[in-house]
Subunit: 331 residues, 2 copies
């Protein structure tokens, strides 16, 4: 297996690369080469049992070396996130739509030269749906995005599904829930606060809640997201047919439930969270649905989500020390 | 009103331009300028009560003059049709996706310079859906295209809906049924035969039916399509919200019903139609649904379809003589 991760410097990309280096393969197949690509050169994982190439570049001018001949898997995580794509229309379109077209072109070149269609695991998003707080979306729910990021992701999904039908590649598009708890810093995703209200207090820092405590979100832990990415890379796609989009089984959680889990794990921590209503953020995230049936994903073997309290504990186990160090907060 | 028709040399574009020249305006508003754009310079309609500019060019290098300042309406009919987009992936993507992005850019430039968002009427297609013969699609049915043309149209719809939300433009995307009877010649649409089995016998020529007589299609006459385009250009879009896609109320007809209507209008004509099974054509059109609820379109004022026999008579009244002349068939 020869794997490329696009967007490999992001936290999911780094976790995935570390995991691949640790296990050396997927299922019974060994990894023979890993290529990591991002805007800035991504870090290589420690002690990989296979050669690793790290490349810096822009997705919209994707170099041939990023998806070299022999590539069997492309994990395409590269994106301009929601609030940024909303603020800079052209940048969002360039990366989220045109960047994905570059990935399709690269795969098409490989298959037209005789290669097997590479599995492309594409991270689409809950933000490609609307329906809001009261909706529970069925597996065949229509994507009617209320933000440019979601529109670009949904359009890219259509093009990847068509490229799969044409056998240029073999796509699985995972509409990821809001990943919680993201390590690192607040970012320009409109959903950044959903992680921040847990992460910042665990770091001893204050955080702001721009929505009400009964606001619900569809979330997934980094651990679960990495499991799903690996399953999407490895699963049999024969039964997918035309429909390459998967709504994985995330967790519906209100902000109040999340703060209660925080308080249970670290008593007193929720006092660091202050209510600071933000109409712009609330308008974006308010359109995202907070619940999905996710029946098809379960039948396809995507694992169920762990309880909320484990999601908080997993951040402490996996990411707290590195986040403290990364942000210069000492031990 | 300052109107641009993109794809104005096609038969729908010409019919629409003729109609606009005849009525001089939409509702109570007068047309002050009409711009006609296509690959080859489109013909100007006879005796227009307003100035007409005709332009030749490629949609993917859309000149600024095609959508000049002051444009209030863009009727975007330009497309690479289904069988051609299937045969030439890059061409289909260039025109159907990137061409539409050029239209969005042009409108965005006008609105960022202070203009009102132009109404963009986009012709999407029944081919952006799948489900096949047994399906009756609800208004919120998901577009799961089984051909590149449909994927490009559905992706373009998403981008136009997002551009509407951002107020770069004000889009209405009409998922047109298979237009029947198309004048002119057989073309590279997979659905070309649906018109040909009526048009060719009316011209005294033989035609081939590549599917069974009980094969059903979702069709609309050119007269009805022009009415819908005008309604989409003129209607109030305030109630559309995020959802800019309309499934207009076409007609479900089997090939047998169409041949019976032909025979009723021109006895003996159906003997010119020969069964010639074509697996490739059948595979493409077999995925298209043959029925839609079209409830929303009716509520929004899109007019109901006339009976099949009127569709045959309308071709004789509107298009038979011109088609004979165009094809050098004499009187």
């Amino acid at each position: 297996m020869q794997i490329t991760i696009l967007g490999a410097a992001g936290f999911l990309g780094r976790k995935l690369a570390t995991r691949l280096a640790r296990q050396g393969g997927l299922g019974t197949d060994k990894i023979t080469h890993l290529t990591l690509f991002d805007l800035a050169e991504p870090p290589a994982p420690a002690n990989p049992p296979f050669p690793v190439t790290t490349l810096a570049g822009n997705l919209t001018a994707l170099p041939a070396a990023a998806i070299p001949p022999g590539t069997t898997h492309v994990i395409h995580l590269a994106a301009v996130v929601s609030a940024q794509a909303e603020a800079d229309y052209t940048l969002g379109l360039d990366v989220n739509l045109h960047g994905t077209l570059r990935v399709i072109e690269a795969c098409r070149r490989l298959t037209e030269a005789g290669g097997k269609p590479p599995r492309v695991v594409f991270t689409s998003s809950v933000a490609s749906f609307s329906g809001g707080q009261s909706a529970t979306l069925a597996d065949d729910a229509r994507q009617l995005p209320a933000n440019s990021y979601g529109a670009e992701k949904a359009a890219a999904e259509l093009l990847l599904a068509d490229a799969s039908r044409r056998r240029f590649l073999d796509a699985v598009s995972l509409r990821l829930p809001t990943i919680t708890i993201r390590p690192g810093r607040p970012n320009r995703a409109a959903s950044s606060f959903i992680s921040a209200i847990l992460r910042e207090p665990l770091l001893g820092l204050p955080a702001e809640l721009p929505v009400a405590e009964d606001f619900a979100a569809w979330i997934a832990s980094p651990r679960r997201a990495v499991e799903w990415l690996i399953h999407a890379a490895w699963m049999d796609t024969a039964s997918l047919g035309l429909d390459r989009g998967i709504n994985p089984p995330g967790l519906r959680a209100t902000m109040g439930e999340m703060l209660a889990a925080l308080e249970a794990v670290r008593p007193g921590a929720r006092d660091l969270v202050r209510r600071a209503p933000d109409a712009e953020i609330a308008a974006i995230v308010g359109t995202w649905p907070a619940a999905f049936a996710a029946t098809r994903a379960r039948m396809l073997g995507f694992t169920a989500h762990e309880p909320l309290i484990e999601l908080v504990r997993a951040f402490i186990a996996d990411d707290l020390a590195a986040t403290r160090a990364d942000r210069g907060l000492g031990d």
